[in-house]
């Protein structure tokens, strides 16, 4: 039984009862969507359709429609891939790691954060697919027995490790998220009136009966899945970082990448969670559940991981000088003073400077500041991956190969498209799924609810 001190800030504000929690969360699902939802959905849908069009053009005509070239073989495609995967890490950390650490404040945010992870990983998984020259053979990266001898995949390749990492990550996250949703779907099912809704939620709730046995098993499974998902928080982005770390290119070839990327992923993921939830809590009127304390806790994680990222940047700079390797030294000199200096400056400002502002209590408890700074963080994190990929590739060992990279409308269109698809998915989720973990919140109402603390 969870016991909590009376003076500890309550996690559920005002005087909520179990029924009110159910009402607060299920009403948006059952009623009509408000006009903000429609506006946002339309914009997202337009962006999504534009992006799908650009993807079709790419697959139909060739990677030549992008701005890539012989020297810079990856740019927006892999930047976007790593950006989306990084974003996804927050959800898993919230769902799994914070569960193991018994942080009850995760309960108000984990459902949406995990949804964000699922959709982010889906967007991320798009890119390794569409960036392939021959996407119709994409299934060849899977080690399936075949008629070619069997011809297996190359287990030395980090791209292959990515395949395993991303597919594991996606499947585990999906299962974890879905299992958590089952009791809440059951709640919606039980309240549903419209036959179609009732049928749909019955299927989704998987026959949840709500008896004690089921709850016990539910808790056990959650713990097991949390145990499986926790290492993923560290392994997946480490694997993604190996895409660069195992290469020979100066600026990529560095052992700091796994921890640096993982910290950065959590950093950007939490920022995206902030961006999404600060809006959701307002629009869906969930301020009592997603409280300023929640926002503050997330900002603290942002400042910690942001500082780790900042330290990583500084150590990269130090080591490039200290190593005495001229290619390494030039790579970093070029980042700061070469043709892409503006990307490096954006990255440094957004990632090193902005999170440090969260040391100030007033800023980390301010909703507006959190929202604005979270956007900056994500912009900064996009630039970080862009800087790593493009500035390292465009000027490597042999100067005759040095070139520039310029994106085409297709590169940009696909990126905007994935943001659009992400929001289409997220808005659909917000419309039809309970966005808070009802069952978990109810479990802390008596111990962490404001009303109950006053007793």
């Amino acid at each position: 039984m969870h016991k909590e001190s009376a003076i500890r800030t309550p996690l559920i504000l005002t005087d909520k009862t179990y029924h009110q929690i159910t009402e607060d969360v299920c009403a948006p699902v059952e009623g009509k969507a408000n006009k903000y939802w429609y506006m946002a959905f339309t914009v997202a849908l337009i962006a999504a359709v534009w992006g799908l069009g650009c993807i079709t053009y790419t697959v139909g005509r060739g990677i030549g429609t992008w701005g890539l070239n012989n020297t810079v073989g990856w740019a927006w495609d892999i930047t976007n891939f790593v950006w989306w995967v990084g974003i996804g890490h927050a959800g898993t950390l919230i769902s799994a790691v914070l569960l193991i650490f018994r942080q009850k404040w995760r309960m108000a945010i984990n459902r949406s954060a995990e949804a964000m992870t699922i959709f982010a990983v889906m967007m991320a998984a798009l890119f390794p697919g569409i960036h392939m020259g021959r996407i119709w053979m994409a299934y060849w990266v899977f080690p399936l027995p075949n008629e070619f001898g069997s011809l297996w995949v190359n287990f030395n390749s980090p791209l292959l490790w990515d395949v395993f990492a991303i597919s594991t990550y996606f499947s585990v996250s999906l299962v974890f998220w879905y299992i958590g949703l089952i009791p809440d779907f059951a709640t919606v099912r039980d309240r549903a009136i419209h036959p179609v809704a009732k049928k749909a939620y019955s299927i989704l709730s998987f026959g949840w009966s709500g008896d004690v046995k089921a709850w016990i098993r539910f808790e056990e499974v959650s713990l097991v899945l949390a145990g499986i998902a926790t290492p993923l928080v560290f392994s997946v982005h480490s694997i993604v970082s190996m895409d660069f770390a195992t290469s020979v290119i100066p600026g990529w070839h560095t052992t700091i990448f796994p921890p640096y990327f993982v910290a950065g992923a959590i950093f950007s993921g939490f920022a995206m969670v902030q961006t999404l939830l600060l809006i959701v809590r307002k629009v869906v009127s969930l301020e009592a559940y997603i409280t300023i304390k929640h926002v503050e806790y997330m900002n603290i994680i942002i400042v910690i991981t942001g500082s780790m990222v900042g330290v990583a940047y500084l150590s990269e700079l130090f080591i490039s000088w200290y190593s005495g390797v001229p290619y390494e030294q030039y790579a970093f000199l070029n980042r700061a003073t070469g043709p892409y200096w503006w990307a490096y400056a954006s990255m440094m400002t957004c990632n090193v400077v902005t999170p440090q502002l969260f040391w100030v209590k007033g800023i980390r408890r301010s909703l507006i500041a959190s929202f604005i700074l979270s956007i900056f963080v994500n912009i900064g994190m996009w630039f970080e991956r862009f800087v790593i990929i493009v500035t390292s590739l465009h000027r490597d060992y042999i100067p005759s190969n040095w070139s520039m990279f310029h994106p085409t409308f297709v590169d940009i269109g696909i990126f905007i498209g994935t943001i659009g698809i992400f929001f289409v998915l997220f808005l659909t989720y917000a419309r039809f799924f309970p966005v808070l973990a009802l069952n978990e919140l109810k479990s802390i109402l008596k111990s962490s609810g404001e009303f109950h603390k006053k007793q």
Binding site: G62, G73, R134, L159, L160, V248, I398
Partner: protein
């Protein structure tokens, strides 16, 4: 064992049951009631049983599915009677010759299934020794040009040969009858048989009593001057001929022996690339560049544009074009000083911003020290300059050793005075018929001559052009000539040396050899093949009668070898120098400081422009500028900075367009930075702006094509064409123009990319000296801080490379002159697509092999030692007058390849013979391999080059005719797939197979990659590193050899050999120019 054992399947068989025996002969032992099934009776009305039904089903399903498996329709027609030599799948090689009026090479043409697909050099030639250049080996593609004329034309519309022959024959006869003038205007013809055919035609048309065997040339006019053959060269060497006429009494161009020259001084002669017999000179020059040899040549170049030859020089002095005369005079006087002879008083050189005056003095000293084995040449077309050059060579005693007047070359036979006279005649209406053969005078003559206007006054105008051009458009009749690969012929490039041209494919179109046309109009048997045989039987066979019993055997041998060479039979005369150097000195052009000066030049890829419509040549980056598909103005970046032109050109940073006024001729072209260009001078290449050669290169903006044609600005001074001008104005129009370049960074940034040293250091300092070693071994610290050779510190298990073959290359940077013959050879062999200007601009050139060109920078550190402070920003800027190095880079076939480990689907692997293999059909196109390649040699197929409309018109694979040039041994890659140099694995496999069939080991040199076979200087040595006696192994073990980027630990199979210059170190031999360049 008993032999009478007999096996039986059943008791019935053993007992030879009669019923069984009867059934044994049927196909099925139990009848399948097929007829019943196939009849119209309903199935349920038949009396068949269930078993029979199942039989039906099985049988019919099988039959139906077999019938449904349609065999694909194969559009191949098998031979009914197979020709002896042609086996599909096996290539045939034929010797032939390339002679287009500018270049000559004896070549070997590879044909497959009756069509030529690849050209390489014929090592039997005593002139070109198996060398070719990019223009020659790309010419196979110009055979398959669908823009070629497909038949004769009358007034621009198609006609038949009978019509055309009839009408022309009648008209010519009418002209001949009234004693009218017929003129044949052609480019340089080196073919004795062609000249005889012209002679035969001239005889017929002049009706005169003339020896039908002797050709009418401009040196020996026909008995009746009504018919004249006038030779016109768009880029003329009339000056040399006239100077030799004055100096030695013979209007010849002598044979040069660069291989015997210990000191070479060239004043503006681009002898490695475009000057006269450039292939021969490149081969000869290569022989003198071995630092380990008995001696190494010292090469001085004085010029205004940075030419290919100038970039290879040991010492280069930049002078203005108007100073060529003064430079030659200065050189003459310096040599005279050494020789104790008398000076001439000519114009003097002013101050030089790069020490040119001192360099001339040094050159003279070196020339004198090497007298008798030195050589001075000039590219100027001015008679006075060439006379003075003759004088210098005479003082140095070079005649008879490095210059052979008894073995003149037959290049550039044009006589500019005679051409000018012809135009005068035409304008006066005195020419009744003009035949234009092999030249395009309307396009290439100076605008001042107004050839088009002169042509309008000629009654009958006939062209033999095989592709419609400006001149043929102005003609009444076009009788298109065959392509040389469809033609018979002979070539006499040099006294005593003859080679043959034979067709390697039936004529693709309804064309006819020009010589046949002339013979027909001369009323003779038009079979030119027989005519050539006749010439050789009459003149060639007598000299070989002791070796060959019959003419047929002689002819067969000559045809097989491609050459018939009798240099020893050439009459040796004595020549004495009788030139008047003092008069010549007084007539030298005076240096000018008036405005800008322009020197017109020829690009290595385009030459005179005969093949300007050949996509391979347009996509071959110019060795100096690395720019493709465009003509431009070359200018020194110091000048560009002052004039406000964009200097750093790249994908999205365009060039500025300038309007250049040469007299009253306006040229509008983008300006590009070429360090080494003499300040306040510009260079513009000829050969562009020809509508007939225009290719849709997907350029995003276009300039007026006519204003790209620099030929219009050629001048005529002192009775020779002149290619230099002063008083030129250059104005920045402010318009921008995107330039496509394959290399946008020009300096080595202090990295050991091309390892360079000087001859003195090479000879005196050990290569691995701890302090000053010029090729120190690369070491890395292991985990314990101990320095170890790179190959010992690695993560990966080694591939077993000690047994079997291990293919590798050694590339000698002393021999590579940057010409690019290897690049076009590779394109031809490996079906590399042409992607056009826009894609090259986006850094997506498809060349598997590239030649990197680096300029030195004032900020370059003196050594590669990393302790030196580096100013990276300044290191990006080349010196105003830099040293230049070339480096061919292809897949290094690393034994620890970074690309192999990162491919997710294992599409790139290592063979047990050391090759890095690329499996196209496995590649899914993630491009990690290209990212991880430190050499960036991998090429991705960004589009479907075979089908996408962006490449129609430039990529040979898209056109039904031009795809005949594709090599059937090599796959044409699809979209989305990575490709790269395969070390011509198809040739390696074929070579191994040949050796296996012959039952012996693979001989060193038997297998050549396309690049190694094309290189005229043999800079690329390919072979088996595990063969202890191979050339490549001995080269790889030399002290000069090193790996590119060895410290990464890739362990490549390609070695580079340090470039050794016969000069002082770079930092000392360049003077720094005061002005800053940003």
């Amino acid at each position: 064992m008993s032999t009478t054992k007999k096996y039986w399947q059943s008791v019935e068989q053993l007992q030879e049951d009669p019923e069984f025996m009867a059934r044994a002969h049927n196909e099925f032992s139990e009848p399948v009631p097929v007829d019943e099934f196939l009849s119209k009776t309903k199935l349920d009305e038949t009396s068949t049983s269930r078993r029979d039904f199942l039989k039906f089903l099985g049988f019919s399903v099988t039959a139906a599915s077999l019938a449904a498996c349609e065999t694909p329709v194969m559009r191949s027609i098998p031979y009914v009677v197979k020709p002896d030599e042609i086996t599909p799948g096996i290539a045939n090689y034929y010797a032939s010759s390339y002679a287009d009026g500018m270049d000559y090479a004896s070549i070997l043409v590879k044909t497959r299934e009756g069509r030529p697909i690849h050209i390489s050099g014929n090592s039997n030639s005593g002139v070109t020794h198996g060398g070719v250049n990019a223009r020659v080996n790309s010419s196979v593609l110009s055979l398959y040009d669908s823009k070629r004329l497909q038949g004769p034309q009358k007034a621009g519309t198609a006609a038949t040969w009978d019509e055309v022959d009839g009408e022309i024959g009648g008209k010519l006869q009418a002209i001949a009858n009234k004693g009218g003038n017929i003129r044949i205007l052609s480019n340089t013809i080196m073919s004795p048989s062609t000249k005889m055919a012209i002679g035969a035609f001239a005889t017929k048309m002049s009706g005169g009593a003339m020896n039908a065997d002797e050709g009418a040339t401009d040196d020996a006019p026909a008995a009746n001057e009504n018919v004249q053959h006038i030779t016109y060269d768009a880029v003329s060497a009339s000056g040399i001929r006239k100077a030799n006429e004055a100096s030695f009494g013979a209007a010849i161009i002598p044979g040069y022996h660069f291989d015997k020259a210990k000191v070479i001084v060239s004043v503006g002669a681009d002898f490695l690339s475009t000057w006269l017999s450039s292939i021969e000179y490149a081969v000869q020059y290569g022989k003198t560049r071995n630092p380990n040899g008995a001696w190494m040549s010292k090469h001085y170049q004085f010029e205004s544009n940075l030419s290919l030859t100038g970039s290879n020089a040991d010492v280069r002095g930049a002078i203005r074009p108007s100073e060529y005369g003064a430079a030659v005079a200065a050189l003459y006087n310096e040599v005279a000083k050494q020789a104790g002879g008398s000076k001439v008083s000519g114009p003097s050189l002013g101050e030089s911003d790069n020490g040119a005056n001192e360099k001339i003095a040094h050159a003279a000293k070196d020339l004198w020290k090497a007298k008798g084995s030195s050589l001075v040449v000039s590219g100027s077309n001015d008679i006075a300059v060439q006379t003075l050059v003759n004088g210098i060579n005479d003082m140095l005693g070079n005649y008879g050793s490095t210059i052979d007047l008894n073995m003149p070359i037959n290049f550039r036979q044009g006589n500019d005075e005679k051409v000018a006279a012809l135009i005068g005649e035409m304008k006066a209406g005195k020419v009744d018929a003009l035949i234009v053969y092999g030249a395009d005078p309307v396009y290439s003559m100076p605008a001042a001559w107004d050839f088009a206007g002169a042509m309008a006054k000629v009654g009958l105008k006939i062209s033999f052009a095989s592709k419609a051009n400006a001149s043929s458009a102005a003609c009444d009749y076009v009788c298109p000539d065959h392509h040389y690969l469809e033609s018979w012929g002979d070539v006499n490039p040099k006294a005593g040396y003859y080679s043959l041209t034979q067709p390697v494919i039936n004529p693709l179109y309804n064309t006819r050899q020009a010589q046949s046309t002339l013979l027909k109009w001369a009323g003779m048997d038009e079979d030119y093949h027989n005519f050539v045989k006749g010439t050789w039987e009459k003149y060639g066979y007598p000299m070989a009668q002791d070796q060959f019993g019959t003419f047929a055997s002689y002819w067969a041998k000559c045809l097989h070898d491609g050459v018939g060479e009798v240099p020893s039979m050439v009459e040796k005369k004595e020549f004495a120098f009788t030139g008047d150097v003092n008069t010549a000195a007084s007539k030298l052009p005076k240096p000018s400081t008036d405005g800008w000066e322009l020197e017109l030049y020829m690009k290595t890829s385009i030459g005179e422009g005969n093949q300007a419509g050949n996509p391979w040549l347009q996509e071959l980056p110019d060795p100096i500028s690395k720019i493709v598909w465009d003509n431009y103005v070359t200018m020194n970046p110091v000048d560009m900075h002052r004039e406000g032109f964009n200097i750093k050109l790249a994908e999205q940073t365009p060039a500025h367009v300038a309007k250049v006024m040469v007299g009253d001729q306006e040229l509008v072209l983008p300006v590009v930075p070429i360090p080494g260009q003499k300040l306040k001078t510009i260079g513009i290449a000829v050969g562009y702006g020809n509508e007939a050669m225009h290719l849709d290169a997907q350029s995003t903006e276009d300039l007026d094509n006519a204003k790209r044609n620099a030929f219009r600005a050629v001048g005529y001074t002192n009775s020779t064409l002149s290619y230099t001008h002063s008083g030129v104005s250059v104005a920045n129009t402010g318009v921008t123009y995107k330039i496509a370049s394959t290399q946008t960074h020009d300096t080595m940034m202090g990295r050991k990319i091309v390892n360079e040293t000087t001859l003195d250091t090479f000879k005196s300092v050990p290569f691995d000296d701890a302090h000053d070693g010029w090729n120190p071994p690369i070491t890395v610290a292991d985990a314990y801080g101990k320095q170890k050779p790179v190959r010992e510190v690695n993560l990966w298990a080694d591939h077993g490379i000690e047994t079997g073959h291990r293919w590798g290359m050694a590339i000698d940077l002393n021999l590579c002159n940057g010409c690019g013959a290897c690049v076009t050879s590779c394109h031809s062999e490996n079906n590399v697509p042409v992607v056009g200007k826009d894609e090259v601009r986006r850094t997506r050139a498809m060349s598997w092999l590239r030649i990197d060109r680096y300029f030195s920078s004032d900020a370059d550190p003196a050594t590669y030692h990393h302790e030196e402070k580096k100013d990276y920003a300044k290191m990006e800027i080349p010196s105003a007058y830099p040293d230049v190095v070339f480096q061919p880079v292809m897949c290094q076939h690393c034994n620890h390849a970074p690309c192999e480990t990162v491919c997710p689907v294992a599409a790139t692997t290592h063979s047990d013979e050391g090759l890095n293999q690329m499996t196209y059909n496995r590649c899914v196109g993630t491009r990690y391999c290209a990212n991880n390649c430190p050499y960036k040699v991998r090429r991705f197929n960004w589009f479907n080059y075979v089908g996408d409309s962006k490449f129609t018109g430039v990529n040979p694979s898209q056109d039904d005719l031009s795809r005949m040039v594709l090599n059937p041994d090599v796959v044409v890659r699809s979209r989305g797939v990575m490709e790269k140099c395969s070390m011509c694995v198809q040739r390696i496999q074929s070579g191994k197979l040949e050796a296996k069939k012959a039952g012996g080991p693979v001989e060193d040199g038997a297998i050549q990659t396309a690049c190694s076979s094309a290189c005229p200087t043999h800079a690329i040595t390919f072979g088996d590193l595990n063969d202890s006696k191979s050339n490549v192994r001995s080269n790889a073990m030399k002290e000069r050899s090193y790996h590119l980027m060895e410290e990464i630990g890739t362990q490549p199979n390609i070695w580079y050999m340090t470039k050794v210059r016969n000069a002082e170190a770079a930092a000392h031999s360049n003077h720094h120019v005061e002005e800053e360049v940003s």
